[in-house]
């Protein structure tokens, strides 16, 4: 377990270092009027300690700008992951109730279609439906957290759903397959042979195995949500990290682009790292192997 964690940590560090170097190299090459004054090592060193330097266009602290935007992007990603999990487990479990029945096929076909939809387009359609047609929810914009948690959460609801729908539906197919496979597995059959009812056997032996087998393919799905935020924010005019990066590109504010891109890469590979380690720890087989 410790070795696994360290290896994942090495992967995380390597990813951030290589990408950080790439970003620094490109921005240095592009820097004409506003050269980045620092070498790569000290640049990354400063960034890792939260000192991103002043913005080239506004003069404000890049670190402060990014921190303010993360207050939108990170809650958005977390809410969306939660929704995607609920959608995935809900639809997947429903479909697995009667494998190859009509409900199973219809749900999985629907899920496969929704999983292919671009999340930002789903966002636009959700705006049309819930803000344009029904007037239930705000079409966009963000009520700052300081003005009330309720308003902020409400303005994150549709964007989070837009991100969660395709990912959750992709997850549903995986969940369904895992549940069906566990149900037909030899170990559940063995448990039944020992006298348990079908439900008991499935709950004791099938469900944990199915749950664990879903965790690994869920990692890239969670990363897709993190990266999807930068696009979906634009549909809902949310002041998140993605909007910050795109505005900085337009203004050619290179220090801001560099700092924000590094933070985005950290978010994505940090998500991978946390989930990989967390999911490995959730597997009792791997935990015990580490203890032995």
């Amino acid at each position: 377990m410790l070795r696994f964690t360290l290896r994942q940590l090495a992967v995380l560090l390597a990813t951030v270092l290589i990408t950080g170097w790439l970003i620094h190299a490109v921005l240095s090459a592009a820097a004409g009027a506003h050269p980045i004054p620092l070498s790569f090592v000290s640049w990354l060193g400063h960034i890792l300690f939260g000192d991103f330097g002043p913005s080239a266009t506004t003069g404000r602290s890049v670190g402060g700008l990014i921190a303010a935007r993360l207050g939108v992007t990170i809650p958005l990603a977390l809410i969306s992951m939660l929704m995607a999990g609920l959608i995935g487990v809900g639809i997947g479990a429903l479909a697995a109730l009667r494998p190859d029945g009509f409900g199973d096929r219809a749900l999985i076909a629907l899920a496969s279609i929704v999983a292919a939809a671009p999340s930002f387009w789903l966002g636009m359609v959700l705006v049309l439906a819930f803000a344009g047609g029904l007037h239930w929810l705000p079409p966009g914009g963000f009520v700052p957290w300081q003005q009330g948690v309720g308003g902020a959460l409400l303005s994150l609801l549709l964007p989070a759903l837009a991100l969660a729908l395709p990912v959750g539906c992709g997850l549903a197919v995986i969940v369904r397959d895992a549940l069906v496979a566990a149900r037909q597995s030899a170990y559940v059959l063995a448990a039944r042979a020992s006298g348990m009812t079908e439900v008991e056997a499935f709950r004791r032996d099938g469900l944990p195995a199915a749950g664990l087998s879903v965790l690994k393919p869920a990692v890239p799905q969670a990363v897709a949500i993190v990266l999807g935020t930068v696009i979906v924010e634009n549909v809902f005019y949310l002041p998140g990290l993605g909007r910050l990066i795109l505005d900085a590109v337009t203004a050619r504010d290179l220090t801001l682009v560099g700092g924000a891109l590094v933070v985005l890469v950290l978010l994505a590979s940090g998500t991978t790292f946390l989930l990989q380690v967390g999911f490995a720890w959730a597997d009792p087989r791997r935990r015990q192997r580490a203890a032995a």
Binding site: A131, V235, V249
Partner: protein, 288 residues
């Protein structure tokens, strides 16, 4: 992107109905794009402000946009642009990724380790980040977009090629062919290349679907194809300001993306599934 695992279950009869459906729908859209080179109902760039924002009618089947351009004509041009961007991106990924994957599978453990590392890194490197960097260097364009998505395609091609070669060469039927006297090139040509090739084609189709979505997303935020050129992403970008007044401008390009991506995913999943079925005769679908 997402594996449409649910689809493969219906082809067990072996009629390849879903494979055919996926191929036919993809080709129909491709054809629609190609036709736009020679002919569109209206010139796609002709502005006609008087007839702006019309609903679908006999004259304009899908209506007109805020500048009075015919939406059907724009869609046809847009589909072509999106397909070209996706195809070039897939080609970049395949040209670099497939040799890397072959090298990893055939050139020994150190190459394997290096390529697997590079492949995993490139798979994790977001196309968005590359697109931003290229846009800073050269200004956003269709070309920078192709390269950005192409780089994102290298990792999946390399890893899947490596996987295809390793699983195929380790399979019993290859061992059986070897026992029967097949060696070297003959063994590779007759017994391994067809299946590996099909798996690589399946991967290419999947990357095409990924690239269609990536083009739409990145052009939507201004990092790719630039107006007045039309692509599926640009059309959605243009539609956003008018979405509440004219929902069709949002719905149509998105539905086209959805149809293309579903068709491509279906094709890819079926291609992969037939190989898996070939490799595991008599095995149930759980093994696929």
């Amino acid at each position: 992107m997402t594996d449409t695992g649910g689809a493969q279950r219906w082809s067990e009869g072996g009629s390849f109905l879903l494979l055919r459906a996926g191929v036919v729908v993809s080709l129909l859209f491709l054809l629609l794009g190609f036709v736009s080179i020679l002919w569109t109902p209206y010139p796609a760039t002709s502005l006609d402000v008087v007839s702006a924002m019309q609903d679908p009618s006999g004259a304009h089947w899908l209506g007109t946009d805020q500048l009075g351009r015919d939406v059907l004509s724009l869609m046809m041009k847009g589909i072509l642009t999106s397909f070209v961007v996706a195809a070039v991106a897939a080609a970049i990924g395949a040209l670099i990724g497939v040799p890397l994957g072959l090298g990893a599978a055939l050139l020994g453990p150190y190459t394997d380790l290096a390529v697997s590392g590079i492949g995993a890194y490139l798979t994790a490197l977001p196309a968005f980040v590359v697109a931003v960097l290229l846009a800073i260097l050269f200004g956003p364009s269709a070309a920078t977009l192709m390269v950005a998505i192409g780089i994102a395609n290298i990792g999946p091609f390399a890893l899947s090629t490596r996987h295809a070669v390793v699983t195929t060469s380790g399979h019993d039927y290859v061992a059986a062919a070897r026992l029967a006297g097949a060696t070297g090139l003959e063994l590779a040509r007759r017994h391994m290349v067809p299946l590996i090739g099909q798996l690589i084609v399946a991967q290419a189709v999947a990357q095409l679907a990924f690239a269609i979505i990536a083009e739409a997303a990145l052009s939507f935020v201004g990092l790719g194809v630039q107006p007045p050129a039309a692509s599926l992403g640009v059309l959605l970008h243009d539609a956003q300001a008018f979405s509440l007044a004219k929902p069709l401008l949002v719905v149509i390009p998105g539905l086209v993306i959805l149809l293309i991506v579903v068709a491509l995913n279906l094709t890819s999943a079926q291609l992969r599934w037939t190989v898996a079925a070939d490799l595991a005769p008599g095995a149930d679908r759980g093994a696929a």
